[in-house]
Symmetry: D2
Subunit: 342 residues, 4 copies
């Protein structure tokens, strides 16, 4: 069975561990900077607890390394695992800064395509079905794309300063969705952020409500709509409009129960609480894709370059919002900012 | 323009009068047993107020007669209008008793096909679309039919004794829907009625909640579900299941507004209040069909025989419920009760 | 960890084995009449392969016994496991005949409440939510219940003669759903079966299309609608209508993807293929309930008496259809047929 | 009865004439530059055909004037009618240019509030219900507004050059919807237009696909999405997201018929063909509002200032798209362009 090392035994690491078992792979070794956490995890999962990330990576039987540590350690661990010849899967973002992300990809060289960045939403059954249909031409040429992404409630305030801000922390998922749906790069971007949910977030120099409009290489139009709070639940929708039709990946509901009362009609449990239940299946399918990548020796379904480009767009949106104007983007190689702005 | 005489200037007569105007026909004459009502109606509509039904029928310019009087007068007025060579439209039921209905049809002879019984639900756009699709073979052979019909609230208690009971007053519409969908006759029927809504209805020897299951000539299965009260609004649905698919005519909603709040999802104005708003379009289209029938000299879309058969089924259901057993039905000619029961 | 013995290593046994692992219980021992099947199963699951059912039941560490063998062996295995002091879960039906089921329950005595009959649909999240809401009074007094249950396609023809017929094999699930929703017994039943799907089924003396209408002790009305074939997928719906509202457990869909094209609107993957994917979660939750029952020493959520009553209704429906008339039911003790028929 | 003069007997004039009759008002006089059209219209409606607009305005019994002529004549006719002391209703836009619109409002002075600009979508039952709920605080403070508006097919190519372009001709409706929902002014706007539907439209120096993002005085975010072609029908949706919930005015469907076949689920006639059937009710309710305004002597529900502001936003979007950058807007008085751009 496919052997995997897990670096980082926190909440998302545990989600992955469960998915690894369900995918029929084996969690061979585990490392966490907090020995207690690693120990507890090892006891429960049967994985060997290692004293260092290096030891976990090089443990006998390890073919793939899953990086689920804090963002500032991503680059070093990706490079160590790749150097050891392992397939790598790393949580988003690839690095805490664009410069670091660029250094990582340059250092990886040919191995960059064997680093799988964990944009799990690509593996959501509804989103994936729409993506496949779009690329299959079911709605003709894609012309307008609307991505709505609203969290049920904001993160703890202490997380805000280390999050990198809404565009880098939250909207980065939607930038990846956009590139995945488009199949081409974004060349222009205009971001508007505001504080509508909690003034404390504003005091921490972040926004909690944002809209970004973008244009792609061939002129397709994209809108991303974000809020840090939606009282009706986790709101995750994609609308792809094309020459021959429209596809919507709507919010799934827990059950199909409908209630009809004096106030007429209601679906009492329409939406998921948050990403852990909304994307349970995505996390499982993502790991299956990683196991498949290990077994076949193939290319990552979401590459290090994809991870870089999502971060690049998040950076651009952060600056566009700060500067109050739209930005034209360079999309050659690993781009830096264009001098052109509008 | 096509000239019409209206007999009965009550609420439903006024609905028809408005539809006549919208259909581009002319209300020529009107009669009502209450002269005040007739006068008020004539002043508003411009129709000549006549002192007798006969006078209204024979008024110059009258080509069609619309009978919207009390049920006990239907037969005489239908016969008078038909004898005068007019096209006739009459509100359901055709007569207060099966014997009277039989007398009417026998007396009409060849003219029975020019008497249009006002089962307005056949003209509902949703129901009509399902009916057309079924008869077009869109779901292959029809196998099971479910008709749900629930009123928002019961009629006034004083109406119950003169209503003929739930099966003859309310379910008669659903019997007509069933025959219309099937395109063949019912040969077996089993009715169950109970009092769940208001015990006062039970004291008046009627039921307010009923289910009837039926079998048609070729073995198709039909269920009709009735209640005199639905707190969520007027509930009128048809489900047609066949070898190649299923068609549902669901309850239409006033608007497509959706509300998403902490209790998740709701469509605040899903359903119509009652038949006047639910079937507004049906009433209009029904009159258009009547005008068309007058102009073309063609057959009624719902004939006197159809009116008889719906009454026959209502009678059978009333007896099946009373006797506590199923009844086999004779369907030749204008049937009377079969000796066979099960 | 809770130890379980599995009797019967066929398809449904394998579904249960997976659910046992997910529920954190341990499959200790396994027996199957086909040694090859038992061996393969043991190799895969790690359970000890036993040479007899007795050996599997008495294997050290076994606290619960899961009976997933052919129907004719159910009673003996239930009794053997109960006698050994184990909690028992048995696939429906409890026995191949009512007489056998009665013998089983009489022999069980006090232990009948520790025998869990596997009516898995009670554990479907949507159905369970409606059931809880009904019993919580959310729609006031229940008045009318409609259960629609249509398979995507008929079973193999060779299965028909050993199935017991549609009412005992397929509709038995719906009889259990009805009793569960009502919280009281059925006192009158009228069944109509016909052959609409495949004439070969008729040649084997069975029906493939059926409607049953029923009345409960307090006068509630129930309709069950069955077909052995629905081209649009597995159709499993419950509609509960009450004094204060209506609840519907509708068919869930795989995703919430919607397609809008020139032919307007479609949800391309609305329904499950069949019970294995439709009720995946139910099977898992059912086993969790069994594990919980073992751990707490409590009463089965679906008892042997429940299993008997569903079979009793299936028997009544089979006879009602055969005799062409409705049947009044005795509901005291373990009832036999009432002399009264209607 | 309330007397109305109609200026312009074209297609939209005829829609209004029908609504006037249904609203119980009287069409007293009519004028059209094409005497044939006016004559035909007069014959059909019974209105007096006048040789000049002035004559129609001053015809005895006229209390309100409905301006449905070509855009270049709007200002002169509005002023003439207002000067004559009549209530005025004028089709959008108020004038062919912002300068003309400003001249009109300045000339109207106090009478500007008695000029009703025909943004009929405000009278759509679904849109109006959402608007009322938003202003009633049902979703708390409004934070993000998305308006989607797609025509089923583009206008004839010969119309493009005289249309003023997509922003002034089509999106102007959405600008008005935005201001109506917000209850405050737009202070920043960024427009992106492209040619995706028909290259011929591009050759005529217009766009057929556009997205505009905007910010309001208090920081609310608005997105408008337009396309000149949607193969699935006329697409007109509003999504209002706020602190306490979300409201959607979705596309209504003709009926509630659903079809379930081997390809699963479809609603065969989901959407309206175009504005004439989509907004039938709106046109009727709009005229009722005009009649009510005449009878009460009250303020127009959509004023000349509203008409100016929608045109101002259309102008800004046209320029933003042309210049490739966002524009900050002055919102005091009848604004001209701010020097500030971003």
């Amino acid at each position: 069975m496919t052997g995997i090392a897990l670096l980082g035994a926190g909440r998302i690491g545990q989600v992955h561990a469960k998915a690894i078992a369900q995918a029929g792979a084996t969690l061979v070794s585990v490392f966490d900077v907090m020995p207690q956490a690693a120990k507890a995890f090892g006891d429960k999962s049967g994985a060997t607890v290692c004293a260092s990330a290096e030891a976990a990576i090089h443990h006998p039987g390890v073919e793939g390394v899953l990086v689920a540590t804090s963002t500032d350690t991503h680059v070093d661990l990706i490079l160590a695992a790749a150097e050891a010849g392992k397939a790598v899967m790393c949580e988003k973002p690839i690095a805490p800064s664009l410069a670091e992300a660029r250094r990582c990809i340059n250092a990886l060289g040919d191995k960059a395509d064997r680093v799988f960045i964990g944009f799990n939403r690509r593996f959501d059954p509804g989103h994936a079905k729409v993506n496949a249909a779009v690329h299959n031409g079911d709605i003709g040429a894609l012309e307008q794309l609307t991505v709505t992404s609203r969290d049920p409630y904001p993160p703890p305030l202490e997380y805000i300063p280390v999050s990198g801000g809404l565009f880098r922390d939250m909207m980065i998922h939607d930038f990846d969705i956009a590139r995945w749906m488009l199949g081409e790069e974004i060349v222009k971007l205009s971001a508007e952020g505001t504080v509508a949910v909690d003034p404390e977030i504003g005091k921490l120099d972040d926004v909690d409500t944002a809209i970004v409009s973008m244009v792609s290489e061939s002129g397709k139009q994209i809108v991303i709509i974000n809020s840090r709070r939606a009282v009706y639940g986790y709101d995750q929708r994609i609308e792809a409009f094309g020459a021959k039709g429209m596809l919507i990946s709507d919010n799934p509901s827990d059950t199909s129960v409908k209630w009809f009362g004096p106030d007429r009609f209601a679906a009492p449990d329409a939406y998921a609480t948050f990403f852990m239940d909304r994307y349970t299946v995505s996390y499982r399918r993502e790991i299956e894709a990683f196991v498949h990548m290990i077994q076949t020796g193939g290319k990552a379904p979401v590459t290090a370059k994809d991870g870089f480009m999502a971060s690049y767009l998040a950076e651009a949106a952060t600056l566009s919002n700060k500067w109050g104007r739209s930005i034209e983007l360079d999309v050659t190689g690993l781009p830096t900012w264009s001098a052109r702005t509008s």
